[in-house]
């Protein structure tokens, strides 16, 4: 109908279209920085820190031993955040395990009576090598990126595989 009487309706239609365009324009203009702001942590590379675990020469064979390390919390705060490191020695081999459960990221602990790592949240079980052997966990315990300087162990605040 607009086409048959372009002169009579064009002013009104122009105003309608204009109002809608202005509203859409303002919405898009506002949405760009806001969405970018909300998503920005996804594109930020997390800062990598290294922390000294300590001398692991005294860690007994077949006995997962817990160390506590401290990393800068990151972002704007100057505070530190602590993390647990389980060092598992088996002869000359050793593993540097996180105590983060692969199921819901609760804190697992070595349960000596079971000879397994146990997650208190949903009963996940891992063997001494950190392999998931029972309960809901879908993956093994994550391992820290680490290096050994003589007998002194250092870990980074990241895992060998993303969790």
């Amino acid at each position: 109908m607009a086409r048959s009487e372009p002169r009579r309706l064009s002013r009104r239609q122009f105003a309608i279209l204009g109002t809608q365009l202005v509203a859409a324009g303002v919405t898009v203009l506002l949405a760009i920085p806001i969405v970018g702001f909300v998503l920005s942590p996804l594109f930020r590379r997390p800062a990598i820190y290294e922390a000294k675990v300590g001398d692991i020469s005294g860690v007994p064979d077949g006995e997962p031993t817990k160390f506590t390390v401290s990393f800068p919390q990151g972002e704007w705060t100057s505070a530190n955040v602590s993390a647990a490191v389980y060092v598992v020695k088996n002869g000359d081999n050793y593993k540097v395990l996180s105590n983060t459960c692969s199921h819901m990221q609760c804190a697992v602990h070595w349960e000596d009576s079971l000879r397994q790592f146990l997650c208190p949240c949903h009963g996940g079980l891992y063997n001494i090598d950190g392999q998931n052997v029972g309960g809901p966990p879908p993956k093994p315990l994550p391992q820290y990126v680490h290096r050994l300087d003589g007998t002194t162990l250092y870990v980074e605040n990241r895992y060998t595989e993303s969790i």
């Binding site: 909300v38 998503l39 942590p41 996804l42 930020r44 997390p46 817990k66 506590t68 390390v69 919390q73 990151g74 972002e75 704007w76 705060t77 505070a79 955040v81 602590s82 993390a83 647990a84 105590n99 199921h103 819901m104 990221q105 609760c106 804190a107 697992v108 602990h109 070595w110 208190p120 949240c121 949903h122 009963g123 998931n132 309960g135 809901p136 966990p137 879908p138 993303s162 969790i163």
Partner: protein, 388 residues
């Protein structure tokens, strides 16, 4: 004096249409039978308003920062008796709110009040229910004690099992792959601004729709064929419900169903509403003073001795987390999301005119199963925690 008040009222009415607003708000005709069951909605509203007031005042002290949040609440606990009571009210009225909003929903489900023309009352109600759950779960993060921290870890990790975009959703909430300072600030922002900014306008819509269609009540308020009348495809007449007394004693054929016996919302229903609400508020106060809100040790991500105990309203989902084997973990998302989708779709699935719950086995039986399922999960979860 009275004349001057009248004059002021008239002056305001002329400019702000006060009179029709008050009439519509207070002198609505509401069904008489079963009125005590219809107090649950207003009780929900009172508890939400209690949350709003105490929540606003809690921000006068609480600091949403990983280094300060716990310390600020510890200070409150040790040095501020009244502040502790305010926090206690905020916690206990949240607990009771979750319970009452559940009852409100069950009542509506049971009476079939969600049927035409009130489908959107139900849909907004379901969204409000989900928003209140969101408020509860984000609120649980904020003390940043051990309980809060491990709740936050588990809850933010659940969306990570969404296919394809899971870890992005988790990082979006946490502000990174790992828990950190941004996690708490974001959750605080969601709790005090984002969710309330949606919640409160939606409450307005929910109430406006209630007034628009009038309160249904339940099938006992209607006679014979009129029990079904509201769902029959007849065009609504221009004036369905007179906003001023006297109300028609007997529903006429031209109208959508009008309850057999009605009375004014004010003061008859408001009196019952008030009594129920005041009992709940007193219970909240007693619990807030006698028990208060707990604060555990400060969050310690390196703990190997802490046993997390989920909030009671999180128990069914937590028990599901325990029961679902590793191959089927996405079920922990499918079941709650599917449940909400089914609830949203309920008025469009159950479209028959029948309102009597005993004549609607096709919805009542699955509904009862769902409730029993959630209750069993809760019992299993609490039993497990008591045995630890």
């Amino acid at each position: 004096m009275g004349r001057r008040l009248d004059a002021t009222y008239n002056w305001l009415d002329e400019r702000a249409a006060l009179r029709s607003l008050v009439r519509k708000g207070l002198y609505e005709a509401v069904p008489v039978r079963g009125a005590w069951f219809y107090t649950l909605g207003s009780a929900t509203l009172v508890l939400i308003l209690l949350q709003l007031v105490t929540g606003i005042f809690l921000t006068l002290l609480y600091v949403p920062s990983v280094t300060e949040a716990w310390a600020s609440l510890q200070f409150l606990k040790q040095h501020d008796v009244f502040g502790s009571i305010v926090r206690g009210i905020h916690l206990w009225s949240a607990y009771i709110l979750l319970f009452v909003i559940g009852l409100h929903m069950v009542r509506t489900f049971f009476s079939g009040s969600y049927k035409r023309p009130r489908e959107l009352n139900w849909v907004t109600g379901v969204i409000l229910f989900v928003l209140v759950l969101g408020m509860a779960i984000t609120g649980a993060f904020l003390p940043w004690d051990q309980a809060a921290y491990w709740t936050a870890v588990v809850v933010t990790n659940i969306p990570a099992y969404t296919p394809f975009i899971g870890s992005f959703v988790r990082a979006l909430w946490r502000g990174g792959d790992a828990m950190g300072p941004i996690t708490l600030v974001r959750t605080f922002g969601i709790h005090v601004w984002l969710l309330p900014a949606i919640l409160f306008p939606l409450i307005g819509v929910h109430l406006a729709l209630l007034r628009k269609h009038g309160e249904f009540g339940s099938y006992v308020n209607y006679r014979g064929a009129f029990r079904a009348r509201e769902c029959v495809d007849v065009p609504p007449p221009p004036a369905q419900r007179p906003i001023e007394p006297p109300y028609p004693a007997v529903p006429t054929d031209e109208m959508w169903a009008v309850p057999l016996q009605t009375e004014d919302f004010y003061p008859y229903q408001t009196f019952k509403d008030g009594l129920v609400s005041v009992v709940l508020v007193v219970v909240v106060f007693v619990l807030a003073v006698a028990i208060g809100a707990p604060l555990e040790a400060i969050a310690d991500p390196s703990t190997t001795s802490y046993v997390p105990v989920p909030e009671w309203f999180f128990l069914p989902l937590d028990q599901l987390l325990l029961l679902v084997p590793q191959q089927l973990i996405p079920l922990i998302l499918v079941l709650p999301v599917g449940g909400v989708v089914l609830l949203l779709g309920l008025p469009f699935i159950d479209r028959g005119p029948e309102r009597n719950p005993f004549e609607r086995p096709a919805v009542m039986v699955p509904g009862a199963f769902a409730v029993v399922f959630v209750v069993i999960l809760t019992l299993l979860g609490s039993g497990r925690l008591f045995n630890q």
